[in-house]
């Protein structure tokens, strides 16, 4: 098969028609360069095993150009693929040393790309197959039906269990608001230890089911106190004695005891 012959054909009007369709419908729906290439291949009704590099490259580059014109950010991966396509195209324009009837797969510059595309497509389809299964919590249920798996999957009504990152973030923004001048030498008598803070938090929790972040850390406190409170909360998290929740990203943080009210023995402190 002489693949070079296929590389010549270009069809300008059809290209532009395709572009309009891209512009209206598909512009932001590609997962990446491979996804885009598969789309172009399908759109041009090409056999993936024998794609016209010239045609595909031209359309691909046009697409990138449209993205740029619309000021949309283009992931670097798209540009890497553009370079790959151009490289393949240029390799195919080079003259072959010996006239051969059958070109071995290794000599076809498109081979690696085609292999990658086919492999990618396989997983893309596999993903769809998996998604079409009956999911626990959606089509299939167990007796303990409010399934924690699915609850954490959809960010909808259930409050999110926050990671420590949100806690750090909350403290960072709080500390930012407190001017540094407030940090002064504290007399020994006023030292508020982490142990004290932990006790304070735990006793607050015994009376109430949950405490809001803003109640624990008041803005008129010293930086020292805020830092101590932060460390106390970290320690309580580490000991798995409290859990952190948030109703939605950026919304206030809540702390609830991880263990139901039981006489809690003094945690081993630093």
């Amino acid at each position: 098969m002489d693949y070079r012959r296929n590389a010549q054909h270009e069809d300008k009007p059809a290209l532009l028609d395709g572009l309009h369709e891209h512009y209206h419908v598909h512009l932001d729906s590609f997962e990446g360069p491979m996804d885009l290439l598969l789309h172009l291949i399908r759109k041009n009704e090409l056999d993936i095993r024998n794609i016209s590099i010239s045609l595909i490259t031209a359309q691909y580059l046009e697409y990138i150009k449209v993205l740029k014109e619309l000021n949309l950010e283009i992931a670097g991966d798209f540009l890497v693929m553009a370079a790959t396509l151009l490289q393949i195209k240029s390799k195919m324009l080079l003259p072959v040393d010996e006239p051969e009837d059958e070109t071995e797969e290794e000599d076809d510059p498109r081979a690696e790309l085609i292999r990658r595309l086919m492999e990618y497509q396989q997983y893309k389809e596999a993903g769809q197959v998996i998604a079409s299964r009956a999911l626990l919590g959606r089509e299939v249920f167990t007796r303990s039906a409010q399934d924690p798996l699915l609850a954490s999957l959809s960010n909808m009504e259930a409050p999110l269990e926050s990671s420590l990152f949100e806690l750090v973030d909350a403290f960072r923004s709080l500390l930012k608001r407190i001017p540094v001048e407030q940090f002064h030498d504290v007399a020994a008598a006023e030292t508020f230890s982490i142990a004290d803070c932990i006790n304070e938090i735990l006793s607050m929790m015994q009376d109430r089911e949950k405490i809001q972040f803003d109640e624990l850390v008041l803005e008129d406190q010293t930086r020292e106190r805020i830092v101590v409170t932060f460390l106390a909360l970290l320690e309580l998290c580490r000991l798995k004695m409290i859990r952190i929740f948030q109703n939605a990203p950026q919304s206030p943080l809540w702390f609830i005891p991880a263990v139901m009210p039981d006489p809690v023995s003094q945690p081993a402190l630093l």
Binding site: E31, P33, A126, V129, I130, A131, G137, E139, V140, S163
Partner: protein, 203 residues
């Protein structure tokens, strides 16, 4: 009291699928074969009832689950989640599921895009887990799917993942329209033909 009834009581009150090993631990007075056969009896009983509950083999164990045919009725009372996965999440999940153990770089090479964000998200949702680190320079993290993944998608083990056939031409019927489960094939290292999961599931 019949063993299958005992198993029924245990499975009904269990929160997660119970494996044969676990059941044997719970019922030392019975032998393994009896328990195994009683599970089959229980399962057949449920099937014969023509009810809504089935004994399902999932994540290496058994669990009582409702038949998907009844989802609309269940939804009337329960607030069910209309969970939709993004395409990148699905692709990535499929890649990790079929190719585990796998590193992030390998995932990115297959997808052609940066995958750190998706992997992190799947980790947070506990569908993917860290298996360890690869013993090569850089010691990259190795990923695999979790038990939660099996439970969510109703899979007995990794071998039960639908087999991927040889890539079809793009204009043929897409894979997901085919209903039948295909026989496991050989894994070929040179071409993207039939793929089977790299690791037998074990926990």
């Amino acid at each position: 009291m019949p063993l299958h009834a005992i198993l029924e009581s245990i499975l009904f009150t269990a929160e997660t699928p119970l494996s044969l090993d676990k059941l044997c631990d719970l019922l030392p007075e019975f032998d393994r074969d009896s328990i195994k056969s009683a599970v089959t009896t229980l399962s057949e009983n449920f099937d014969n009832r023509r009810g809504a509950i089935k004994v399902v083999e999932v994540a290496g164990g058994w669990q009582l689950r409702t038949d998907p045919a009844f989802q609309d009725y269940v939804a009337r009372h329960l607030k069910t989640r209309t969970t939709k996965f993004s395409q990148s999440a699905l692709e990535t999940l499929a890649i990790v599921a079929y190719r585990q153990p796998i590193t992030r770089v390998e995932v990115e090479h297959l997808r052609g895009v940066d995958s750190g964000g998706v992997l992190k998200s799947l980790l947070e949702k506990k569908l993917v887990k860290i298996l360890g680190k690869k013993d090569i320079p850089g010691r990259p993290i190795i990923y695999g799917t979790s038990r939660d993944f099996l439970e969510l998608f109703g899979l007995k083990d990794l071998k039960s993942l639908p087999t991927l056939k040889e890539i079809q031409a793009l204009d043929e019927t897409p894979l997901f329209e085919l209903q039948e489960e295909l026989p496991l094939g050989e894994k070929s290292s040179n071409s993207p033909s039939t793929i089977e999961p790299a690791l037998p599931f074990g926990e």
